[in-house]
């Protein structure tokens, strides 16, 4: 929010951010805010954006926010959705809004599962994680598939700016938010958000966990600006992914003898993704 001086209107998908900030009769939002449902935050903002265009056309909106009318000025439109509301149930609505080219920023805060409803797996849950709906057990090592590559899905809509960020790197996140908000047309941020609920780690390790995700290359920080890849954080000697996994209860079972191959597979996937990213960015 600090990344722009323009007024901001927020559309929020159903999720932990929504339920914790708008318990009637209170609201934590000091700016205009709308929550309508789970899968449609991008479609909802499409309507808000069209309303803004209509109002601008009718000259009801003043170009600057200083105006004295009820319509204060052209606003930045921001969506917040979790990974469930973005990778899964809201993907169609997001895709439609990106294709139509509405001017808005979509922020997916990604904690790798449906945590608000008690820790079910989503399309954003990483390989091997223990969730309530795909639990580890005698016959299972937890999530059997890799998460979707949401960045590539969003990128393929041909939008001008998208970036992967991490709450543990706030300066990097703010820089990306600013760029995203200055973009003409749609922009997108995929932000890693550690969650103590299902990741199962002490809250005191919150920032540490976030940092480990990037230091191990599990969650690289990068931007795709007009199709060009830029890596924002390069590890000369990246830590092993085990460092990130071992701190979390959801991966505890992977350290049992029978599941160790899964850790290898995760490491392989992390290495592969990093290599691809380096190639795309043209760096070495």
């Amino acid at each position: 929010m600090g990344a722009t001086k323009d007024p901001v209107i927020v559309s929020n998908a159903t999720g932990c951010l929504e339920v914790t900030t708008t318990i009637y009769p209170y609201t934590a939002w000091k700016i205009p805010y709308i929550h309508s449902a789970f899968e449609n935050a991008a479609a909802t903002i499409s309507g808000v954006e069209a309303a803004q265009k209509a109002l601008l056309k009718k000259a009801k909106l003043k170009k600057s926010a200083k105006g004295g009318s009820a319509f204060g000025g052209k606003a930045k439109l921001v969506v917040f959705g979790g990974d469930g509301g973005t990778y899964d149930i809201g993907l169609q609505s997001l895709s439609g809004a990106l294709e139509r080219g509405h001017e808005f920023l979509y922020v997916c805060y990604d904690n790798g599962g449906y945590m608000n409803t008690g820790g079910q797996r989503s399309g954003g849950t990483p390989l091997g994680a223990n969730t309530e709906t795909e639990p580890a057990g005698l016959d299972s090592f937890g999530k059997s598939r890799n998460r979707k590559d949401l960045m590539e899905i969003v990128k393929s809509h041909g939008i001008k700016y998208l970036a992967q960020a991490n709450v543990a790197y706030p300066n990097d996140l703010a820089m990306k938010a600013k760029k995203a908000l200055e973009t003409k047309g749609p922009s997108f941020l995929l932000v890693l958000q550690p969650c103590t609920n299902l990741w199962k780690f002490p809250t005191s390790r919150y920032v540490r966990l976030g940092r480990l995700a990037t230091e191990t290359n599990f969650w690289p920080l990068y931007e795709i600006e007009k199709g060009n890849y830029v890596i924002n954080y390069v590890n000369k000697n990246p830590k092993k992914v085990e460092e990130f996994l071992k701190e979390q209860g959801r991966f505890k079972h992977l350290f049992e003898e029978k599941n160790k191959k899964v850790i290898k597979e995760i490491q392989k996937s992390v290495n592969g993704n990093w290599k691809k990213l380096v190639e795309m960015s043209g760096s070495k």
Binding site: E18, T44, A50, K53, K58
Partner: protein, 390 residues
């Protein structure tokens, strides 16, 4: 057809779909969010051409589904502007979740429904099954018999919706009305714009001085109160409908009521029906009346809120009634029948009422079939069994 007392209208040949688009041209909503589906498409296609030819400023969002159509319409309406959409059948079903959210947020979204059967089996033809599935969603619902009523009802629905903050759907029968060319009267642009006035929202997302949060989490201590408030708004809508139809009469010289009474005066037996088949039913009434049979018809227009008291008053002097529904409520009596019986019982009226279902999936209903329904009433052939006219 009641003709107007003023002389500023034009006579035109229009389908229900083009009549809807013509209303939208005059109302010029700020935002339309829409997804194509048969038999709704004539509405949006006609309107899109108007936009392409610079006749309206409306922002049209070509969304990727009906769920997103209603979501975007909600977003726009929360933005404090007039927002509309249109759909049919599967589209309305896909919107279902969002219908409750539009009404729960008290946003006056306006929608045309070209009513059509629901899958499975898939069928694209006229029926009321889709709109009946939405009857508890907190929307004003108004049925139209023909293109003229589609047009006229739109003025009443949009004004009513904005006044009581309840979204509204104007319903036409898929194909029978949406695609059939009829002679109708179109009012002049100036009068129509004056009648509708500017939309002045109580709250808007674009009010940055007094920002509003839309879409709260309401827990056990408040959710119930929200629903009671909506129910009260529906009571208000019933009274406001009356006022708006009076304003409509003053402006356009036409009388509209909760329902149409056709030759009910002096009638002993009546049929209750909604939508395009009312025209055929009126022919049946005329024929039997010419034979000296005391029959009449009550055509449902305002369906939600349902005018229980007025309807009971209009029917209580009959000897017997048949309700013809173009929808099936599997495992129960059909919707209009149930509402009519409730209206009569709550007025302590114990008239016999028979239930007939007709025209599912666009199947024809013929005049002699309706005449036979009247003959059943006259011969006192009432039963608890639902009868199918097919």
């Amino acid at each position: 057809m009641i003709y107007m007392t003023n002389k500023i209208y034009k006579v035109k040949a229009m389908t229900g779909g083009t009549a809807a688009a013509e209303f939208l041209r005059q109302a010029e909503p700020d935002v339309m969010a829409v997804y194509p589906i048969t038999p709704q498409t004539p509405i949006v296609e006609t309107f899109a051409k108007m936009k392409a030819n610079g006749k309206v400023l409306t922002e049209i969002i070509q969304v990727e589904s009906e769920h997103s159509a209603m979501s975007a319409a909600i977003g726009a309406s929360a933005g404090g502007v007039r927002s509309v959409t249109a759909t049919s059948s599967q589209g309305l079903a896909l919107m279902h979740e969002m219908l409750y959210i539009a009404s729960g947020l008290r946003l006056p979204v306006f929608m045309y429904v070209s009513a059509r059967a629901l899958s499975a089996p898939i069928n694209i033809h006229g029926e009321h099954g889709d709109v009946m599935g939405s009857r508890d969603a907190g929307w004003i619902q108004i049925f139209s018999e023909n293109a003229q009523e589609v047009y006229d009802n739109s003025f009443i629905a949009m004004k009513l919706s904005e006044r009581v903050k309840i979204p509204a759907m104007v319903i036409m029968d898929g194909f029978h009305t949406s695609h059939t060319v009829e002679r109708m009267n179109v009012q002049d642009d100036k009068t129509t714009k004056k009648f509708l006035g500017d939309y002045k929202p109580e709250k808007s997302l674009f009010d940055f001085k007094d920002p509003t949060s839309f879409g709260f989490l309401a827990l056990q201590n408040s959710y119930f109160d929200f629903k009671i408030e909506q129910a009260e708004a529906f009571k208000e809508a019933l009274a406001e409908y009356k006022k708006i139809t009076s304003e409509f009469k003053i402006t356009f010289g036409k009388s509209y009521d909760y329902f149409e009474k056709y030759k009910l005066e002096g009638a002993e037996y009546a049929i209750v029906i909604a939508g395009s088949a009312s025209g055929t039913a009126k022919e049946a009434v005329d024929k039997l009346r010419s034979q000296g049979k005391k029959v009449g018809l009550l055509k449902i227009k305002l369906f939600r809120p349902f005018p229980y008291d007025n309807l009971a008053q209009a029917l209580k002097s009959m000897k017997g009634i048949a309700v013809l529904d173009r929808a099936i409520s599997l495992g129960a009596y059909p919707p209009i029948y149930s509402d009519v019986v409730n209206a009569l019982r709550s007025a302590d009226c114990g008239l016999p009422v028979s239930s007939y279902i007709y025209g599912l999936g666009g199947s024809d209903i013929l005049q002699d079939e309706i005449e036979n329904v009247f003959e059943d009433l006259i011969k006192w052939k009432f039963s608890k069994e639902i009868k199918y006219l097919k």
